[in-house]
């Protein structure tokens, strides 16, 4: 029975995507990821001239933990993620209502299905891309396969730990703070009093160089224990009583009266506040990855002290910051507006304003990072770089995916177009930031094409039939 549910869920996920943009466009997505990984791998010998293999492997493991972290907040969203992904019409996700299947069984299948999809769509293609590249560069194929094995483990550890933390958050914020404090204390004690290096704590990486059965079991423990506990305590109950709220739309929209879209913005904030997880969604989807990146930067600073960390951080922050737009659009399809006199472009413009308001968080993080890294002299170029990359990548997201980035980016053609327009800029920004941060003062020039792209986007999406999801 359980296996049947998983099989049908996999089919359903496939059909959900292929019904939106066709079999081929979805099927090509992993191929494109593989090709990108292959191209990136071809530069490995060049990167090896500035970084050692160990440093590269360590960085890759961090990135995969981060990847796991960004998608692992199932516990937080629980029912809502099912709602958003499948909609009320879904027969499988909601089959516990009409069939003798528990919510937990459904969610376990959903979790396994999602892991299978992420492995097929991202991790395996990256592995194949890397392995294929070994035919052309002097890197051992076996070691690449082992590396990929460690990367999958890092991904699963990241996913499992955040699944655990987000499940705790769904029950009690206080409990989460207690757990995080204990975690931090244990981490600091291990590092400072037991002299255990951070690389030893990065178990999959550590196992690559010093494999041992105990490390393997510890990794399995880190993957399975938090996930199992999370599944046991998962909050997926349907509320028995209706939630009542005092009318606050107009009061809130009055606060945003500087914008002609004030009531749309007020609605966005009420959506964020009242949906499951509330601000926790921002914490786990945005602030948590940023926090981890910040931590990794300290490690990078140790590895490559010459790197102007705040500049690299600003570029990364700009890209991650654009993902707030994905969160804002995830709660709002165009369906409720179709019978009202509203253009798609109006909703997009209101989302941009909401995005800019929430981006104050990102700006604060940049300020804190600058102070903490003691790199005040580069704050202005970092700020310019952050604003430009964030607005530029947002404009491209909107042009290619409109109000549906979380869905349309799985269309291989759309994703390829996005990558082709954003990655060269990202590459140039990173290199220039390392060479001479002050060149970044000229970066706002990019805002001109960005605003042109935005104007084109409004026209494009007003003409386009909205996705029925």
């Amino acid at each position: 029975m359980a296996f049947e549910i998983l099989k049908i869920m996999i089919k359903e996920e496939w059909r959900l995507h292929t019904s939106l943009f066709g079999n081929r466009m979805f099927a090509f997505f992993p191929l494109m990821i593989g090709i990108s990984a292959f191209i990136a791998s071809m530069f490995l010998p060049n990167i090896q001239t500035i970084m050692t293999t160990q440093q590269m492997l360590q960085s890759a493991n961090y990135i995969f933990i981060l990847f796991g972290v960004t998608i692992g907040s199932f516990g937080l969203t629980g029912k809502e993620i099912l709602n958003r992904r499948f909609g009320q019409a879904s027969l499988i996700a909601y089959s516990s209502r009409s069939l003798p299947v528990s919510e937990r069984t459904i969610f376990l299948n959903f979790l396994i299905k999602d892991i299978i999809y992420y492995v097929i769509l991202w991790i395996l293609p990256i592995t194949f891309g890397l392995v294929f590249a070994t035919l052309f560069i002097e890197i051992n194929t076996i070691s690449i396969l082992l590396v990929c094995g460690t990367l999958i483990l890092s991904f699963l550890i990241g996913l499992s730990i955040v699944f655990f933390l987000s499940t705790i958050y769904a029950h009690s914020i206080k409990l989460l703070i207690v757990f995080l404090t204990i975690g931090l204390v244990v981490f600091l004690v291990l590092i400072n009093f037991y002299n255990i290096g951070i690389t030893t704590l990065l178990l999959p990486y550590s196992m690559y160089y010093n494999p041992s059965l105990s490390k393997f079991f510890l990794i399995m423990f880190l993957i399975f224990t938090p996930s199992t506990i999370s599944l046991i305590f998962l909050k997926v109950d349907y509320p028995e009583k209706k939630r009542q709220y005092k009318n606050s739309l107009m009061d809130l929209s009055y606060k945003f009266k500087f914008s002609q879209h004030s009531y749309y913005i007020a609605k966005d904030f009420l959506d964020l506040k009242r949906s499951e997880g509330g601000l926790g969604k921002i914490i786990f989807s945005f602030l948590f990855p940023i926090g981890l990146t910040w931590l990794f930067l300290y490690i990078f600073l140790e590895l490559i002290p010459t790197v102007k960390a705040i500049m690299i951080f600003a570029v990364f922050l700009g890209i991650v910051s654009a993902s707030i737009y994905n969160i804002l659009t995830a709660f709002d399809t165009f369906n409720p507006y179709m019978f009202l006199p509203v253009k798609v472009s109006t909703i997009i413009k209101s989302k941009i304003t909401s995005y800019l308001i929430v981006s104050i968080f990102s700006l604060l993080i940049l300020v804190l990072a600058t102070i903490s890294l003691n790199q005040l002299e580069w704050f202005i170029p970092a700020l310019f770089s952050f604003v430009t990359i964030s607005v530029y990548s947002l404009s491209m997201t909107i042009y290619f995916a409109g109000l549906h980035p979380t869905i349309l980016f799985y269309n291989s053609k759309i994703f390829a177009q996005y990558i082709c327009t954003v990655s060269p800029i990202l590459f140039v920004f990173t290199i220039v930031s390392i060479l001479d941060p002050f060149i970044m003062l000229a970066s706002p020039v990019l805002l001109i094409p960005a605003s042109f792209v935005l104007k084109k986007s409004y026209k494009k999406w007003d003409k386009w039939k909205p996705l029925s999801i």
């Binding site: 209706k242 709220y245 009318n247 609605k267």
Partner: protein, 237 residues
């Protein structure tokens, strides 16, 4: 004087023709019922007439406004109740009406909302989140949002399907009163009893083709039941 003019309207979805060369006009003050079996093209028709989807061929004018070129203008003038009620999940019922009021630039929205809460008897639900409302209450909310701005034409897709008999009666009386004031209603349904009871004009559609269009009095004068007429027409195709 026709307020809805449809000429040769066609919609293809790939190989399927959902609406096939429909020509029709509806005068001011009519309560027009578009009747047809499931999947006959009723919802597609309403979506085209309100500019939610583009026709493959043909033209439509609502209050002399070309729908194809001015869908937003049409939606400003008319009220629409979609087949599936979809108020945004995380607003309360009252906030949703205020939200619609803001979009439609209605000044006395608070007062109007209260009137609708009272008329459709769901005042006790006004602070509940839309996502937590029952289907019937969400349907009531969608009825309220469609009439808030007192439109001259209302397009209603399966209007009474989730409502209890008391509210059904209230809404029927409201619609009859609404057309008496010179407004027009275009509604689709497959519940023939409702159509027979309140419609002034009926159209019968099957497999995208309009099989019949005429005043309900024609049938009443011939002492013919709508159900018999409908079944005969649809069977003959």
């Amino acid at each position: 004087m026709p307020v809805i003019k449809i000429n040769n309207l066609t919609k293809d979805f790939g190989d399927l023709t959902a609406v096939d060369k429909v020509t029709l006009s509806i005068d001011k003050g009519q309560l027009f019922g578009l009747l047809g079996p499931n999947g006959s093209g009723k919802t597609t028709m309403i979506k085209m007439l309100t500019g939610q989807i583009k026709p493959t061929n043909g033209t439509a004018e609502i209050l002399d406004i070309d729908v194809l070129n001015n869908p937003i203008k049409v939606r400003t003038k008319v009220g629409i109740i979609p087949e599936q009620e979809t108020p945004p999940s995380f607003l309360t019922a009252e906030e949703y009406l205020e939200f619609v009021g803001s979009i439609r630039k209605i000044s006395n929205i608070k007062k109007l909302s209260e009137q609708w809460f009272k008329l459709l008897d769901f005042e006790d639900q006004k602070n509940a989140l839309c996502k937590d409302l029952s289907r019937g209450t969400r349907q009531k909310l969608m009825v309220a949002q469609a009439f808030l701005h007192e439109p001259q034409i209302a397009f209603i897709d399966e209007p009474l399907i989730n409502l209890d008999p008391i509210i059904q009666r209230t809404l029927k009386d409201f619609l009859l009163d609404y057309i008496k004031k010179g407004n027009t209603v275009f509604f689709s349904t497959h519940v023939l009893e409702i159509a027979e009871e309140i419609c002034t004009q009926i159209g019968i559609i099957d497999k995208g083709k309009l099989l019949h269009n005429g005043p309900i009095t024609e049938l009443k004068n011939k002492k013919q039941h709508l159900e018999d007429f409908f079944l005969k027409l649809v069977k003959e195709g």
